[in-house]
């Protein structure tokens, strides 16, 4: 299956997973949130800001700033810089680029960071200015963001494979159970299947608990070589494999699979593991139906078996398939581009054994995925990574 000529990620590690706790609304700027994340990275890694020689930033609400403006803003002198506007796929893409940079010694310590603020009008402004196709051919239809676009995808996918709202709801309910153990989750109340089913419709078949809550927050981690981490005495997770794909399956009339399906063989072959070997899985959950699609496309079950898969598995922290252990975006909140990082950052904590109240026992092998950019009628960007903790 794997005919890849890709260079392995030997010697590349990730360290210092950082989450700046989310708030529903913030009067602070995106730059403020990103600054807090950088500060936390430095503190957690026990380094000086001057030791960071690579920076990769993602944000929807930085206004006219990009990574370059932030270097001066934060007094960073870097020799490698990137700004990644890939929405929910930003973390995977950032990690891929940073990994190759440190591997090639273009940089030694790369800070990957995503943060967004949420003023009362930020969400609307982000929607209005999302992309040209969106401006020309989606936004004028009152879609009000991704809800209606995803509703069309969800409706077609659920009808095609006979998936019920109960099936999809299991994912959201398990994540809420996980979130109740995460003090930083914005959602604090338990969620039952009855409550899930009785929720008010947003854009059929999408109902209230299928939607994430926009909020403010930031997430970050460091990428470096194994020997750098060792010299700093930093616990680190090894990068085993990655995939990234954009505009896959353009001939599918409607999206029933993401780009993962194109590259999933390579994902596991490069890592030298099987889906069954994974201790913890963090999918990109902007809607639970998209998570179900990922269970199929990432090889945990076949296409069309996603509903059966969630019926047969316990997706909670103590379950047989620990998934989105922090509560995911559905229960923690979606802090803009930081939503792309949420799963990966929590996954790193899991394999490093530092997840605290959401820790899965003996987790050492993790997978995180990303998905993003409903440019027109489908999500265009997808990616996934597999990583291992020191115990493996």
């Amino acid at each position: 299956m794997n005919n890849s000529q890709r260079t392995p990620y030997d010697g590349v590690v990730m360290a210092a997973p950082v989450t700046i706790p989310y708030v529903r609304y913030s009067v602070e700027s995106a730059q403020w949130w990103i600054g807090r994340a950088l500060s936390a990275l430095v503190a957690q890694a026990g380094i000086k800001a001057a030791d960071i020689d690579g920076l990769c930033v993602s944000s929807f609400t930085m206004g006219t700033d990009s990574g370059i403006g932030l270097t001066q803003h934060f007094g960073l002198c870097v020799r490698w810089l990137d700004t990644i506007p890939l929405g929910g796929a930003s973390a995977i893409a950032a990690l891929r680029k940073a990994a190759r940079a440190v591997q090639a010694h273009d940089a030694d310590i790369v800070a990957c960071v995503a943060g967004d603020t949420n003023h009362v009008d930020s969400f609307r402004l982000t929607l209005e200015n999302f992309s040209r196709f969106n401006q020309d051919a989606v936004y004028p239809y009152g879609a009000g963001g991704a809800n209606s676009s995803f509703a069309l995808i969800a409706r077609n996918y659920m009808r095609t494979y006979g998936i019920t709202r109960e099936d999809v709801g299991r994912i959201a309910i398990a994540q809420r159970a996980n979130a109740l153990r995460n003090p930083n989750a914005l959602m604090k109340a338990p969620l039952t299947l009855e409550q899930y089913l009785a929720a008010r419709p947003i854009s059929d078949p999408i109902h209230l608990f299928d939607c994430v809550m926009p909020c403010a927050g930031a997430e970050a981690f460091l990428v470096m070589r194994e020997e750098t981490a060792a010299s700093l005495g930093l616990p680190a997770a090894r990068l085993l494999s990655t995939i990234e794909r954009h505009n896959a399956f353009a001939d599918d009339p409607m999206q029933v699979r993401g780009g993962w399906a194109m590259d999933v063989g390579e994902l596991y072959a490069m890592a030298g593991v099987k889906p069954d070997d994974l201790d913890v899985v963090q999918t990109y959950d902007d809607y639970p139906v998209i998570t179900m699609m990922q269970f199929e496309d990432l090889g945990f079950c076949k296409k069309g078996e996603g509903a059966e898969f969630v019926r047969e598995h316990d997706l909670t922290i103590e379950g047989d398939f620990p998934h989105n252990t922090s509560g995911g975006q559905l229960s923690v909140g979606q802090a803009g581009a930081a939503g792309a990082y949420l799963g990966l950052v929590e996954g790193l904590r899991q394999v490093l054994g530092t997840a605290g109240p959401t820790q899965v026992k003996n987790a050492s092998l993790g997978l995180a995925s990303g998905f993003g950019m409903i440019n027109y009628d489908r999500g265009l960007a997808s990616g996934a990574v597999i990583f291992a903790g020191p115990s493996r």
Partner: protein, 413 residues
């Protein structure tokens, strides 16, 4: 199947009139290829000149072969509704006020998929017929209707947002002394208008066709001389809040250009009647219409100008008249922009010489007044912005697009 809309009840004067909101307006420059088509009721898509592939949304290069030669061409309208959704709580104010709002994704037989507004009778998996419509922001949007006719089809709530159907609405036809005006009154009435006000100057003076207007159910003769500012203001004070559709049928046709006339007295009359008359009407009725763009079933929806097609290209035989029409056309674009915040459509109807006394010496083909009246109604029902009535108008439109210099030389005969 949808229920017919009910005639609106009497308005409660104590209730605040709902102010118009606009759906999102920004578009890329290329996307205005659809605006142009929607204005005329055509359905176009971009097609690659190199490989023949149809593309949507508007692009700058072919997604199949990267050729930059993408041309907006008339395209087959048939497609299949793949999936639908009903937005219950849109974040946009316009849609939030009109929720629930139904949209869908249509796979066109010719290739592309289109996010579209849906007629209530569209069913998943079934064929639909696509059009581009001008929405309340004046921009083009895709609209899917069932392939065949369904009962009360035009009463669909979302369709009615895109159109200016006379049904249950109140119209003002500005000049009842002309045959075109009288035909317009009859056509609007036949199309279900609740009331048609018809303006007549010095109404005590008899005129031909008077019996068609007087004493008819739903037709009210009102005093109006558009060229007289006070007359327009007085009438607006009386019925300004009840005009949902204004049809400006002012006509003042005199032959002649510049050198065969002496002085400016005829030109002054032409300007007084057509151009200043238009200004008087706009200033008297425009503000109230703009306020009432979202005022229920009989909200204010459209302003119609009947213009000579020689507004677009001067015909020296009627040279000064052509110029007065060109002035009105230019002013109409200003009025369109100013009415736009109310979601009011401005429709210009371009006609060749009409079969009336002032074009008596002009050889056929000439346009029958009834054809103009029918075009007004069909344009309102289709939500159009530009209509060309008759062979002469259509020919001038095409020749102007092909070569304006050739048209200029050939009109000089």
């Amino acid at each position: 199947m949808i229920d017919p809309i009910n005639p609106p009840g009497r308005k409660n004067p104590l209730l605040r009139t709902r102010l118009p909101a606009s759906p999102p307006r920004p578009r890329s420059r290329t996307s205005h290829g659809f605006t142009r088509a929607a204005a005329e009721g055509r359905f176009v898509l971009q097609r690659c000149e190199a490989c023949g592939v149809f593309a949507y949304p508007a692009r700058e290069a072919c997604p199949s072969c990267l050729s930059p030669d993408l041309v907006f061409v008339d395209a087959p309208r048939r497609g299949t509704l793949l999936a639908e959704t009903t937005a219950r709580v849109p974040s946009d104010v316009y849609f939030r006020e009109r929720a629930p709002w139904r949209i869908g994704l249509v796979k066109m037989d010719c290739g592309p998929t289109i996010v579209t507004h849906l007629h209530a009778d569209c069913v998943e998996g079934a064929a639909v017929r696509m059009s581009f419509q001008l929405d309340k922001s004046g921009q083009a949007v895709a609209f899917a209707r069932p392939e065949g006719e369904t009962p009360n089809m035009a009463d669909d709530r979302q369709w009615r947002e895109m159109t200016a159907d006379p049904k249950f609405r109140r119209a003002l036809v500005t000049n009842g002394r002309s045959v075109v005006g009288q035909e317009a009154v009859a056509a609007l009435k036949a199309a279900g208008a609740k009331t048609v006000f018809v303006g007549v100057s010095e109404p005590w003076r008899p005129f031909a066709g008077e019996e068609l207007l007087r004493g008819q159910q739903g037709i009210e003769v009102v005093t109006l001389d558009a060229a007289d500012e006070k007359s327009a203001v007085d009438l607006a004070a009386d019925i300004g809040g009840k005009v949902d559709i204004l049809v400006n049928t002012t006509e003042y046709v005199r032959p002649g250009g510049l050198l065969d006339r002496r002085g400016t007295s005829i030109a002054r009359d032409e300007v007084d009647q057509a151009y200043l008359g238009f200004i008087n009407l706009a200033q008297a009725f425009g503000p109230a219409m703009r306020m009432r763009g979202a005022d229920g079933i009989n909200n204010s929806v459209a302003w119609v100008n009947v213009l000579s097609v020689y507004a677009l290209a001067n015909w020296p035989a009627f040279g000064a008249y052509s110029a007065s029409q060109a002035a009105c056309l230019s002013l109409s674009h200003c009025l369109r922009a100013e009415l736009r915040p109310g979601g009011i459509k401005l429709m210009n109807l371009f006609t060749g010489p009409v079969d009336t006394e002032w074009f008596q010496t002009v050889p056929p083909p000439k346009v029958a007044p009834r054809a103009i009246a029918q075009a007004i109604v069909s344009g309102l029902r289709g939500g159009l912005e530009e209509i060309y009535v008759g062979d002469v108008a259509e020919e001038i439109r095409q020749r102007l697009a092909a070569n304006p210099k050739a048209l200029e030389r050939e009109l000089d005969r």
